[in-house]
Symmetry: C2
Subunit: 568 residues, 2 copies
Amino acid sequence: MLKRYLPALAWLPHYQARLFGADLLAGVIVTVMVIPQSLAYALLAGLPAVVGLYASILPQLVYAFFGTSRTLAVGPVAIVALMTGAALSQIAVPGSAEYLEAALALTLLSGAILVVMGMLRMGFFSNFLSHPVISGFLTASGILIATSQLGGLLGVESSGFTLWERLASLWLHLPGISWPTLLMSVFVLGFLVGVRRYGSTLLKRLGLAAGTANLLARAGPVLAVVATTLAARQWQLEDAGVEVVGTVPGGLPPLTLPWPDLALWQTLLVPALLISLVGFVESVSMGQMLAAKRRQRISPNQELVGLGVANLAAGVSGAMPVTGGLSRTVANFHAGAQTPAAGAFAALGIGVVTYTLTDWLYYLPIATLSAFILVSVLTLVDVATLRATWRYSRSDFTAQALTIGLTLAEGIEAGIIGGIAVSVALFLYRTSRPHSALIGRVPDTEHFRNVARHEVETAPGVALLRIDESLYFANARYLEDTLYNLVASRPALEDVVIVCSAVNLIDASALESLEAINARLRDSGVTLHLAEVKGPVMDRLNHSTFPEQLTGRVFLSTYAAWQALHDR
Amino acid sequence: MLKRYLPALAWLPHYQARLFGADLLAGVIVTVMVIPQSLAYALLAGLPAVVGLYASILPQLVYAFFGTSRTLAVGPVAIVALMTGAALSQIAVPGSAEYLEAALALTLLSGAILVVMGMLRMGFFSNFLSHPVISGFLTASGILIATSQLGGLLGVESSGFTLWERLASLWLHLPGISWPTLLMSVFVLGFLVGVRRYGSTLLKRLGLAAGTANLLARAGPVLAVVATTLAARQWQLEDAGVEVVGTVPGGLPPLTLPWPDLALWQTLLVPALLISLVGFVESVSMGQMLAAKRRQRISPNQELVGLGVANLAAGVSGAMPVTGGLSRTVANFHAGAQTPAAGAFAALGIGVVTYTLTDWLYYLPIATLSAFILVSVLTLVDVATLRATWRYSRSDFTAQALTIGLTLAEGIEAGIIGGIAVSVALFLYRTSRPHSALIGRVPDTEHFRNVARHEVETAPGVALLRIDESLYFANARYLEDTLYNLVASRPALEDVVIVCSAVNLIDASALESLEAINARLRDSGVTLHLAEVKGPVMDRLNHSTFPEQLTGRVFLSTYAAWQALHDR
């Protein structure tokens, strides 16, 4: 029991020196790599840059004890930062004390939701997010985030929730463009794209081992941060109009417990729920992928608890909502992390950085962070998946396209809720008209096949109808339609047999429909039978009065029905 | 094409004198019977009583040409009246000109929604309303309507949307009780209940034929209306505190076309959608039941058009939302109606009544109508179904109980939307953890069975996994969990075969999961195979790159997989 809620008990007692070395190295590497993204994603959420560092300390440390993934690195991520910013901007002005306060409330609320969902084992809720909806949402978010950074790259203001609002705001402020900022942006963008694309190849040519070359190439953003910070300090670029991060409070994050403000929490409930859900789905898919690579396993429900506790820790240490981040986790994995201790070491490392280096952060240009965000989020835009979905299924493509359109045009919440609603509706629609076939006997055998496709024996007074789907509310009416049309179109019909070999479930709606069908067929002189009802389905039916009402019989096999009805 | 949208073309050209006699008789009977309910349901919606008569003229006439049911009688019904009242009370004061205006807008909007849904063939939308949700909604509405009539029966005011609001309002006004009204209520209630329960038996004992006795017994409310109206006129009961209908505009309904008020329409959109949906479901189930009794058929999508045009007609003739009504339809059916002409005759009859008798309506006591509504709606309260659902399925019972609770506590819209959401969520939850089984070979046969239940042959390096459900977004993650756990728990595993004999659909989410599973199993040295993939599912898979990615093979049968993997 204790082990379930504190998975660290599974690895901590057996911790060895060999693991310590690998984890420490991974921790140091992750520390260096996550600094730029932590700062950048805090700005993306409309929060002071240092909040991003806070969000990488205590939450990460706490996750090491409560999480089930060996290699997941927890901290601020782009999508969650975007969602955080969108939720907070609706109730406070970015930069104000209320904004920061609301951020802490949102973080705590999201943490509480995750912990409660985990304890109630409600991980299945994330199943409502279908892959096309997630993929569409990520693509649209990538575009939204990218547009939101154009202002930072050009040195002008830009605001808004939807794509059009952002573009309109940018257009309005465009005359105030800062040319030195643009110059620096172009330089940093070029460097980041170059390093990302050619960095590791180049380093390998210089004789470095493949692993080391890949890791070093990933440190490109760190180099950009250091170089532009030094440049801004050396030449006082701030005076030339290059915006910088500015004064940052020194020292470790302040520990606080905000007094619960019920009205505020109510306003933040839906955004907190969506942030929790999206963060969880992103995190758990990644955790599963990496665990599978090493034949380990993670527990989705305990992951909810782990991420929830991490967010609670974020909420009391002045930070923002966190989840498992893709780039930091992949860095951790490839740097050779063996246990969650690597994450703990990284947390300590970022703590040291925060404690010592905040003075230097003053000179970090905003444009550098914007360039970093732009390069990172463009990988979210996934046109290939869109094309593949189109080829594979029009129905899934509809859900995906609608999610993208709604997210861009109406904002994040509308996009994700609309996407879920449409994918559920389309699934219900698909199963609401199940495949069904009138079947007949393959001569001289006990086999039965579709009368439309095979040469089979039938009898004018008997119809054998096979339904290839569970019977539930979405197709209960279709079942009635099908049977009434069958009876209306064949006046000579005396017996109808529903063959249930593919029916895994009959819910209360379908049961009522069966009762109605039975009664109405009886009124018009037709007897209803069932055949090949599965064990659990029959058990369930025996809890109702349907077996007594049934005018006909329940046959064990279609052949038994045939013998009884045809050969009489 | 024309016949599809104007089903009257199917019967009108072949209309005969024999049909005319039967239809005319049914029309006269229905005319007499629907007067009390038309008046009562208009009051229930907070509208002048005469609006109920208007709603039984033009809509009914129009439905005769556009509807596909031979016997459906269209007019105001209790549930729709309740929903109309609830929607309108939120934006105007009952009795005001704005209220009436909003009623017409709601009716037109609901008509337009129905027609559009019919032309787009969206009848399947009604499938979202599961039987437990409908039944729970009817029960709760019955209770709500009954409570709303207590004020009328006691001669005091009462208002509110939820059960508690209504009861509290009633309690507040109770000291103003009108004893003459209560006396009359008790008398009418006793009479109506007595006639309903013993009327037809009594009349049969008096020597009447069963059919005639049943019809006459159904005319009980008419007798109550006539008797109490005469009494109120004779003894001027109005002066004694018995509330009467009062001045009613004479003549036929005014034809108007309200100018579209976009803001108003936007406010009314959700209520109009729910009214359309609920009205359609009620109407079409009844139509189907009666059509099946005579081996006829109706077309749900054309029914949408028919009811939509009826509502448009109601909206331009000063009426309220209409749909197929249970009691009037049953009366029509049992009175021997053969074609929709019976409905047209009834419409003409009510037109004549409206034109000539409105002066008499002045003296009709409200208490009589309240008593009529109370007796009618108590049949909606269905405890037996609640019990049956509890026995049959806890999951369906949850949806039903929640619908009742939400409708009573939060009102009609919350109840119906909450009920739909919960039943969809519960269905997704049920299918999100499909039954799956590791299977092995029954020795010396080509049959395969669950290893946990049968003595079968297995091989340590091979796992045959049969999944008994379509693979889609709600269970895609479960599929991944299942396979990763399987691989993590059996280190010796080399081959996994997913047996797809019960898989009717693989959506884009499940496809991505299969691709992920394939890639991650490959990373850990396990080969993935499929077996028994159905034709349409395989066709679909061939539109993706999955077959090329698959590390293993697609076997036609489980036995083929066994031979290839086990006997090698």
